[in-house]
């Protein structure tokens, strides 16, 4: 009896490996032969082809200068592609695409004289989908008082604030470029928790990070980049099942060849 159950289990397990739900959901990110060059000898992104659906968190991994930030900026509409095509939730780059995208850049975009509640005010007016309530809850969770000025805040506190602002919007696509580089381990866990809890069910989170070991349990899939190219896209759980390797170990193996 038990043997039978296990046998049935095995065959089902095999079929499920590597498949994620919402396979039929419309793609949130689509790119075709997307290219961007900073200078003739400095390609930012080469022939990126992506079709990424919602309902998952995807990591973006690669050494410095591999094109992660360039890809993020192109998807966020902060850079114009030299060739190729981008669609965000079906929209070409422009106001509609931007309205479905919350972008957290790798460098701070906030002016030092501002207070946290000033930023809330700005976000409320810039983004119709900004949920101030959520942002206020975040501040409590992340232990930041709203009358604090940015100039008095540490790098880690600013990062926490930036994540909170970004995640308090209700959009289809969240682009987080190195969101937790300076956040200490305890706060990092809280930031991750809030990312998991607050992302709308059908949304896509694309998150770049150097801290793969810390962030890998948070990633359904990982995109590996090198020299401006997407060299591999892997399902995290499938890697662990079939290779017996963590994403971080796999990463080291991938880049040992380059």
């Amino acid at each position: 009896m038990i043997g039978n159950n296990n046998a049935a289990g095995e065959s089902k397990k095999k079929r499920r490996d590597g498949t994620l739900p919402s396979g039929n959901a419309p793609p949130v990110i689509e790119t075709e032969n997307l290219c961007f060059t900073y200078a003739a000898d400095r390609p930012g992104l080469i022939q990126a082809n992506l079709c990424l659906r919602g309902g998952r968190i995807i990591g973006l991994a690669g050494p410095n200068g591999s094109g992660k930030t360039t890809l993020m900026k192109l998807l966020a509409g902060m850079l114009q592609p030299q060739s190729g095509r981008i669609r965000i939730s079906g929209h070409a780059p422009g106001p509609e695409a931007k309205a479905c995208t919350a972008y957290l850049p790798d460098r701070s975009f906030m002016a030092n004289w501002m207070r946290i509640d000033d930023l809330f005010y700005f976000y409320e007016h810039f983004f119709a989908d900004f949920e101030r309530r959520k942002a206020e809850d975040f501040m409590k969770l992340l232990k930041l008082r709203e009358d604090r000025r940015l100039r008095d805040m540490s790098q880690g506190e600013k990062e926490r604030l930036a994540v909170a602002l970004t995640m308090s919007r209700r959009v289809k696509l969240y682009l987080l470029d190195e969101p937790i580089a300076a956040v200490d381990p305890v706060m990092r866990e809280l930031v991750f928790e809030s990312i998991i809890r607050d992302v709308p069910e059908d949304a896509l989170v694309l998150m770049s990070t150097h801290l793969l070991a810390e962030a890998e349990t948070l990633m359904d899939q990982v995109i590996f980049m090198q020299h401006g190219e997407i060299i591999r896209i892997a399902d995290s759980e499938t890697l662990r099942l079939t290779e017996g390797q963590s994403v971080e170990q796999y990463y080291k193996g991938v880049y040992a060849w380059y």
Binding site: N5, G9, K12, R16, L20, P21, G55, R56, I57, E189, F192, E193, S194, I196, R197, E201, A213, E216, T217, L218, M219, D220, S236, E237, R240, L241, G244, Q245, S246, V247, E248, Q249
Partner: protein
């Protein structure tokens, strides 16, 4: 939850949930936290947790009611079986240790029943 990231996370979560059922931390009929909330608590994606749930639903240890959520099975026999299975492993380990230490089957049984009797009388005294 601390994970061994070299092993599939959903299997580790399934193991943890089984442990909680065996230990009684999750009782028959208990309601399981919503996916998002529990996923956040464990630090994994909702998809990974969903996969662990599917695993336990296939084993009939959890069931989903479309309207009211996900619950621990109320099938006492099923849970009893799970307890038995989980205990077998440590029992086998114990037997191996004893055999390797050179004890024969009868000696093992005698030792076990002696210790058991002593434990029971200690418990009664308390």
């Amino acid at each position: 939850m601390q994970f061994d990231t070299n092993r599939a996370l959903y299997l580790q979560i399934a193991e943890e949930l089984r442990r909680r059922i065996v230990s009684g931390r999750l009782k028959p009929g208990d309601r399981i936290m919503p996916v998002r909330q529990l996923a956040a608590e464990l630090g994994v994606t909702p998809n990974t947790l969903q996969r662990a749930f599917q695993e336990l639903e296939r084993e009939d240890l959890l069931y989903t009611d479309r309207t009211s959520g996900r619950f621990v099975s109320e099938d006492k026999e099923k849970i009893q079986n799970l307890k038995r299975e989980s205990i077998m492993e440590s029992l086998d380990e114990f037997i191996t240790t004893m055999l390797q230490a050179g004890f024969g089957p009868e000696e093992i049984l005698k030792l076990v029943s002696e210790r058991l009797e002593r434990r029971m009388s200690d418990d009664r005294k308390q």
